[in-house]
Point group: none
Chain length 212, copies 4
DNA sequence: CGATAACCGAGACGGTACGTCTAGTCTTATC
DNA sequence: GATAAGACTAGACGTACCGTCTCGGTTATCG
């Protein structure tokens, strides 16, 4: 059975305060301006208390990001096209916040540090990828998506363009352009030769309803 | 008439040496490990000589990247599919080098600094985008690409997936997967099997209007 | 009750090492060549550890000088003339060393900084002045020195000439000239009516032999 | 005959402006805060123009001091005691000004640099010492001063105490104390055996008359 | 009168030291 | 044994000056 280790147990309150102040400061000053001293001070905690839990600033930021993951509900509307559109808008909504911007930087900065990148993939991206895979699997099963479509390819195609756009322009993709991009991606993912007329009608209707 | 500014002119040799040693160190130690002192030392230059030219490390790195831009020849094989494939493999080849990895980090780190991001877009990405736009215009004109295809949308679709993959996995996309991705993207970009004649007229008009 | 301040206490060893290396470097390179970086390096200490204790190089040098004060023993030979001569030779011996030269520079450099000058007076010069005052008091009591002689006047008269000489020539006063100066000063300090013959003989002999 | 060297001659105006701004800045910011850049800027002159004339800041300061020497008139009142008193008060008056304070620092800072110290002695102190020697010689000749009195010894005795006092306290000696010091020094310098009673009366009278 | 030479201002050059900041570790007394 | 506090070594930061150099241009003497 798991025995309690001796001595004073680590304060859960301190841990939470550190993570919270990390995210707050990440939003305020950006990844570049983050310092462990400032994080500890805002959390009302000594610096060594931070180091005791995370080896480096990067590790702390990764942990803080992971701690903010929301489940990314897979809504299962019964329509693969609609499901994918919802995931895409969910992604862009996340990227719009101040924290969201930082996430990209963390990805880029963390590249070399394999364990951290691994943790980020496992706990931050993994769940999203799994939810995404479920959507794709349902779409393939229902015949809406191409039979040979692999989930990771669909993921790259759907999320790649808006992320690339953000990276280059510094701004999240606007709604109009997002719709155009999605329409094009859908052509690459959808099972073949749907009747042209009905397809175009549905697109117009849907995108009109789904825009924010 | 344009007069020379008074005083000793800045040394072009020093400038070049700084840019060169910046790129060399970026490849060796990565963006995170870059130090203005180390750059200056390797360039055989005093630290103030660096600060005199660039306000910050970020600005210097952006300038160094810009100084390495190669024209990105547009080969014009006469086949739009082949042209696009060549651009895609060119991108991944660039990303494979040690410097290429750093570029992504620079993009992410620089996001907030608008002037730097602007410079990076204008001088590093801009030329590539222009070459890309030319390829797309030719493809549209020849009827191989969809008549309503806009160059920036094609750019996001083609380059977004491999970049996204690199960002997530830390590794450039493998050849096999790159081919699969390209095949899917092509489905989104290619003109349908319509009769060539009618479509080409419309397309020619469009691409003329959309080019920048 | 006096409570200890929290946190790690300052290292007494580091403090001592800094003071020691300050005096060593003062002797080696002079006041002008002193560098906080060099002091810290020789003390095996980080630069901030120096700044944490002293606000400036001047403050550090003053502290280092103070830390080297030796009690300046008042020997009390029973003869006021002999006591004063011993103090004078003690002063010149101190000034002869490499450090001694620096002291003058510190005095001059520190003039404007009242707190530092005050500290120097209180802890470096003060003790010497007190010992000096005791000698004068005994001499007055025994009738060897003028009844109305004030200690600070005696101090200026005795130490002023050799210091002035050092300041002007850069060299401590030679023994021969020191003796002549002392003989003259003694005339100004001694109680009058010594038997003219013996006193004048001794003085005459001395000053005659010692004059240059 | 001495030929004029070819090329554009050095600007006398620039030289004078540099010396003037040196003295002004010495008074404003002190020796420690002096920089060649600031001196050149205030003189409206390029930095190399300063270096062309003086090898170092110290050399410049010495030159600037020398350029301000006033002849130090020897008034020759016919009374040696009065002459000496006038020289003493002349010294203290000089030391009272802001520049005067700096002079001491220059002496101390310059110690090691023999050529500069030599120049300072030759051109700044030398003339004063010569005037002083003349006073002493007259006093000896008239029998007021001791027959065996050497000028340099008299100089040390007269100027040493107030200089020493300034060095220690940072303030010039006050009038009352200056009088007491002078009275004592006079005892050391004056020819001997005046009747005690009359001598003391004279001293009292004199010092009363001589006070400022 | 044109050539030559040393000066002039401005300002960049390679360096060095400054004083501050942050990293990551260590040492207290307290809980 | 974890805690808050705060010191520790190490080293990068961006700035200020140093003393030298390189510009374009000016002002003198000399041929």
């Amino acid at each position: 059975m798991a025995r309690r280790s001796p001595g004073r147990p680590r304060s859960a309150a301190a841990e939470q305060a550190i993570l919270t102040s990390t995210m707050a400061l990440l939003a305020e000053v950006g990844l570049h301006g983050l310092t462990i001293g400032a994080i500890a001070a805002r959390a009302g905690v000594g610096r060594p208390t931070v180091y005791r839990r995370w080896r480096s600033l990067e590790a702390l930021v990764v942990a803080a990001l992971i701690s903010t993951v929301r489940p990314l509900r897979d809504l299962d509307t019964g329509d693969a096209r609609r499901d994918l559109w919802l995931m895409l808008t969910g992604l862009t909504r996340d990227l719009r916040g101040r924290v969201g911007r930082g996430v990209l930087g963390v990805h880029a900065a963390v590249q070399a540090h394999s364990p951290l990148a691994q943790a980020l993939r496992d706990h931050y991206l993994g769940p999203r990828a799994r939810a995404f895979a479920a959507v794709v699997a349902r779409g393939v099963a229902s015949g809406q998506l191409r039979a040979d479509l692999e989930p990771h390819l669909a993921l790259d195609l759907l999320f790649g363009p808006p992320i690339y756009h953000l990276l280059l322009t510094g701004e999240p993709m606007g709604t109009r352009r997002l719709k155009a991009t999605f329409a094009a991606v859908w052509r690459a993912l959808a099972a073949r030769p749907q009747p042209v007329s009905s397809s175009s009608t549905r697109e117009g209707r849907r995108s009109g309803r789904l825009g924010r």
